[in-house]
Symmetry: C2
């Protein structure tokens, strides 16, 4: 029995999220279906974490165990021929048998894209939130900095969260401008359910001038959900990178130079 | 009666092209339908030129005449509320009554995107051609330079072309790398039917090593279609910019700085 890890890119628009759901097609079951066509079995896929309906991934990671003799680095090619074009396996590799895609996560990076132009874009309609209201970049940046470090993110989780502790550490938190887009880049040890989207929703209100950046500090210390803002829409969010001791998806896919640039987005 | 110009962005994936066709929905008739819902009439839309099925536009230009009293710069907002999200009117302005979106074109720019990575991309699947074969950038660039200047492009047109003369002038012709993508940027006085796609198809064979860059010169001087390569797939092509004496779409939409960078793509 071998354990294989997959690095998976998906446009989440047409899926109910990573995990199998009764109300539609998930990314997980779609990859399971490709496996079935390939090797006649449906191995259980363990992902680095769930992504919600409409959320995208540049580098989701999932592992499975198999007796199938396909060379580890060839699973990606074999699966891609059996997958729809909005899901692509970018890499596949063998891991130690006790390595785990979820429990061994060291760091996860997300981006949240806001198209802050007068008109929406025909091209980024599914991958960036369009907001034509002015957003003050200085205020966004000031708010983003307040998330850095270890905090109780209880105010920044959805009711559906089942996490045992709500303390998380944020390593990077900044907004980067690219043309009409404001891209929020956040890296952390882990994230609660809907945490990034609630952080963004809170910052949007601050960027619009309805709240002060210090609202973030109050919500972090008070830890009450009502102190934070709305949950920003799912389609602006992309899981960009997962880091393990064993490998780092960004270095694996794009080389180490790319990984240094928070604004780096390899698709355009 | 006023003449109004529209600057239009579209993801061409779900359309049979700009022009009304019997076999599917065109961009032109979709905008016509939005007009009908807005003002109860269907003005004739004259575009800078047709785009084929699957071809995209960052800045197609079209004009129409109307008696409708909507302020010129408000047509974009009014139409966008009645258009599907893969077509966006980015700007609208009043022009002199004898100005013409097609006959007054001074320069058009296209980009052709090749995703030259081992695996296709879930995100650029509809906007870039995926080729996993190695492409030699030096050879692509050498071939691109040979298109510069005034030439008879008879070898680079499709049989469907009805142009009276096949002489065209190319002002810019270069490949730019962005991550895994090779992006061909071409600017000219005008283009024959399928001309850019045949130019790219010819360069792809050169980049793969099947032909020498000088093939371009032979095809330009011999002017026989058989000397040029295949027509590259439509979905890699995007109409990026149209220049008139009256206005330049790129400066209108993105400011003059953007217009100086051939690799600039405002959507990601």
């Amino acid at each position: 029995m071998r354990r294989i890890a997959l690095v998976i890119e998906y446009d989440g628009t047409n899926y109910v999220g990573w995990q199998v759901q009764p109300n539609g097609i998930s990314v997980q079951e779609t990859i399971g279906g490709a496996f079935y066509k390939l090797i006649g079995e449906r191995p259980v896929l363990h992902a680095s974490g769930r992504t919600d309906s409409g959320v995208h991934a540049m580098a989701q990671v999932a592992h499975f165990d198999t007796e199938c003799g396909v060379p580890a680095d060839k699973f990606c090619y074999a699966l891609n021929t059996r997958l729809p074009s909005d899901i692509r396996i970018k890499a596949s590799l063998e891991t130690p048998p006790d390595w785990h895609a979820r429990f061994d996560v060291r760091e996860k990076h997300y981006i949240y894209r806001i198209n802050n132009a007068p008109h929406a874009s025909a091209f980024t309609r599914n991958t960036a939130l369009h907001m034509h209201y002015p957003l003050d970049e200085q205020r966004l940046q000031a708010a983003a900095k307040l998330f850095l470090g270890e905090h109780d993110f209880n105010a920044f989780k959805s009711v559906g969260s089942k996490a045992q502790t709500t303390v998380r550490t944020v390593f990077e938190s900044e907004w980067v401008r690219r043309g009409d887009e404001l891209i929020y880049h956040v890296a952390g040890s882990g994230f609660l359910y809907n945490m990034v989207r609630i952080m963004v929703g809170t910052m949007i209100r601050i960027g619009q001038g309805f709240e002060e950046p210090e609202t973030v500090s109050r919500a972090l210390s008070g830890a009450e959900r009502s102190l934070a803002g709305d949950t920003a829409p799912a389609h602006g969010l992309t899981l960009r990178r997962v880091k393990y001791d064993l490998f780092d998806t960004e270095k694996l896919l794009f080389g180490s130079e790319a990984a240094k640039d928070p604004a780096f987005i390899p698709f355009i």
